[in-house]
Structure formats: structure tokens, C-alpha cells
Amino acid sequence: MSEKERIWVVDRIEGEAAVLVADDDQEMLDIPLNVLPHGVREGTVLRVTESKGHLLWVSAMLDEDLRLKRLRQAETALHELKNRDPGGDIVL
């Protein structure tokens, strides 16, 4: 089996390139926006086929459900963290 699906997320847009972070949080790639599907923006989750070690960007598909799920999870976590905020000015 030399083909697998990988998840890459658009960390940010720099000019005409999307800066992508792999889900192993190790690899990063700059990919021209015109190679990626229409609608790619900051935070877009992409499912990309990797065949024989090569990422097939033409195969990239947006996963909107996973993007929204991750945002909801992060918002829940942030809400919990904000409960730790003592408020006001802080003296270190």
C-alpha cells in the first residue's frame, strides 16, 4: 500500500502561498494558492493523497466538518482556560 491520506492545515496565507502544517506538527510546506482547491483560507483543513512519497495536491479536498470540530474544541478549551484568569492588572 503506497497510497495514504494525510491531513494538512493552512496555518496562514503569505502573499500567493499557503503555509501548511502537517498533522504531525513537524512538517511545514509553502504551496502556491493556485495549486490548491478554491476557497482555501487560514484554518482550512485539507485531506491530501500521498502516493509513493509524493503529495498529490490536485487531490486535496477541504474538510469543513473537521475544521469546525477543531474550532469548537479549541473554543471549549479556551473557555476553560479563561476561567483561570484572575482579571485586572497583574504584578509578577
Partner: protein
């Protein structure tokens, strides 16, 4: 001005008072009465260490990869305040390493979620680390000994560009001021200018690595920095852009960039004087005289002389 590895500078500022006479500036404070801002050389990313005169530390952003070795080399044993200006990987990539390696007291971010594994790992780590106190980036003052960090009001949520919700910080130590704002772009910089939140500062970290959208003339006219530091590494985005370099050079006495100059430290004194230190060694390269208070009634002239590095 861009400094090369083999040339350094001593910058002498004389203050030409309105009455036309040139006055020498006051004697330095005692050794140790200074705040130190170190721009770590973390490539195309940001990581800025603040050390108060009394030894409190703050780290603003943590690079793409771990800045822990550099922090250890600087003798950092605790970080009192860790700030993520915004959740892009070139600013938070090294956060988890920092949290796992160095005791952290407070963590601050802009409260805006992201979908990358980098961000998800960070937020998960913070959830588990109940010993770290979370702080929302809202208008408030963080006191680090005799220095203060003012957290600026953020613009309304912008769903299309996380850069424009970068946490804005103004470090004040007497008349020495530093402006740090991650990757803020025109929209956020203009918001701060419109709300009167941009003071006349001594040091400016070039927003967004010297991008074309990381400055406005109105912002630079308000900030009037003497020193601009660009945290930048090898990149394919054209950072820093020529128009940004030109703009910074036109308002500042010195423009430094971590790709050419390596780690940059600015030592600030309460009366507004500063020293530029390059590299890991404490290399004294310059001194600027003239406080921010004086500047409004006096004209400062920079005379660059005797550049001697290492």
C-alpha cells in the same frame, strides 16, 4: 541602517535644544538598573525575551522550533509571563517545548482559536498544566518589577486574518519604551493609531517580519522609534520588503535584522537611553542619549561613529 557582522556602531545622540545649544546627556544609571530585550535568532519567526531590572522575565512568542537552548544559554530558569501574540506556527511552534522545559507562571494569548496541530497541541498542554495561570489579552497592566507591560485593546475579531488580532504590548521602563505586536498588519496598526494607543517609543519590533503590510506612515509617525528590529530568516515571502526597510530607515536611527545581525539585545535605561548588543556575547555597540520626554521639545541628531564588533 543595516549592520554587518564585521562592523559595529557607537551611536552618540546629542540633543540640540530649541534654544540652539547642545547639551550633554545625564550620566548612566548604576549597572544593573536596566531592562533587557533580546530578539532571539529563531529564523523566519519571533521569540523575544524581556528581562526586568529585578529579574522578572517575559517571553513574547516562541519561534517555530524550540527556543529552549537559546533561553538556557541566556540563563533563563523561569518565565513569569509567556505571550502568544497570535496562533500562527512561526510564533507558537516552540511554545510546548518552552512550557515543558521551563517553569511558567502566566500565559497570555488573544483567545482566538486555530485549527493546526501546532495550536491544538499547545491548547491541550495548557489545559493539562493547571499550574499556569491564563491571562486574556485585554487592556491591563502587567508589572515586572520596576518595568510595566501595557496590553493594548485588540480590534474586533477578524475571521480572515489572524495577524490583525496580534497581541499588542508596550513595555515601559521610565522613558524607555518598546512596542511589540507580533504580525499586526495595516488594519490593526491603524486601529491602534485611531484609538491613540501608539506612544512615542524607543524600540519597535517590525510587525510581520518587515512585510509590506506591517507598517503605515501614520503608525511610524506616532511610534517614532529610534531602533527597529526585524525578526526574520530565510523565506520565500520577500521579508523584509524593500519598502518596509526604507520606511524604517527613514524614521529610526538603527534598523537591525536577526538574519544578518543574529541575536539582538537592547538594553534600556529609565532615562530613555539604550544600548545595542549583538550576539551571544555582551558586545556594547552603541549608546543613544535623549529621553522621550525631552524629544518633544528638543531635536535629536544621530552621529554614527567607530563601528567595532567582536
Amino acid at each position: 541602517m543595516r549592520l554587518s557582522r564585521f562592523f559595529s556602531c557607537a551611536v552618540f545622540l546629542v540633543v540640540s535644544l530649541d534654544c540652539g545649544f547642545t547639551a550633554p546627556v545625564t550620566a548612566p544609571d548604576p549597572v544593573g538598573k536596566s531592562v533587557r530585550i533580546t530578539f532571539l535568532d529563531v529564523g523566519q519567526a519571533d521569540a523575544i525575551l524581556i528581562r526586568s531590572p529585578e529579574g522578572q522575565t517575559a517571553l513574547v512568542d516562541a519561534g517555530r522550533s524550540s527556543p529552549v537552548p537559546a533561553l538556557k544559554k541566556l540563563g533563563v530558569e523561569q518565565i513569569d509571563l509567556l505571550v502568544a501574540t497570535h496562533p500562527h506556527a512561526d510564533h507558537i511552534g516552540g511554545m510546548v517545548d518552552v512550557i515543558n522545559a521551563i517553569p511558567i507562571r502566566f500565559y497570555m494569548d488573544n483567545g482566538q482559536p486555530h485549527t493546526t496541530a501546532t495550536y491544538q497541541n499547545l491548547i491541550s498542554t495548557l489545559q493539562q498544566r493547571t499550574d499556569i495561570t491564563y491571562l486574556a489579552a485585554e487592556p491591563r497592566t502587567i508589572t515586572l518589577g520596576s518595568a510595566e507591560i501595557e496590553v493594548l485593546l485588540l480590534p474586533p475579531v477578524n475571521s480572515t486574518n489572524l495577524n490583525n488580532r496580534s497581541v499588542g504590548l508596550v513595555l515601559r521602563y521610565g522613558s524607555f519604551l518598546v512596542f511589540l505586536s507580533g504580525d499586526s498588519e495595516v488594519q490593526e496598526l491603524s486601529f491602534w493609531v485611531q484609538h491613540g494607543l501608539v506612544p512615542d517609543v524607543t524600540v519597535l519590533k517590525a510587525p510581520h517580519h518587515g512585510s509590506h503590510n506591517g507598517f503605515t506612515w501614520e503608525f511610524l509617525q506616532a511610534a517614532q522609534p529610534e531602533v527597529v528590529v526585524i525578526s526574520v530568516g530565510t523565506n520565500s515571502y520577500g521579508h523584509p520588503r524593500p519598502e518596509a526597510l526604507q520606511a524604517y530607515s527613514s524614521v529610526a536611527e538603527v534598523v537591525l535584522r536577526t538574519d544578518d545581525d543574529g541575536q539582538v539585545t537592547i538594553v534600556g535605561y529609565k532615562d530613555g537611553r539604550y544600548e545595542v548588543v549583538l550576539g551571544q556575547e555582551t558586545i556594547m555597540t552603541g549608546q543613544a542619549l535623549g529621553s522621550r520626554g525631552q524629544r518633544s521639545t528638543a531635536r535629536a541628531e544621530a552621529v554614527v561613529t567607530s563601528y567595532v564588533y567582536e
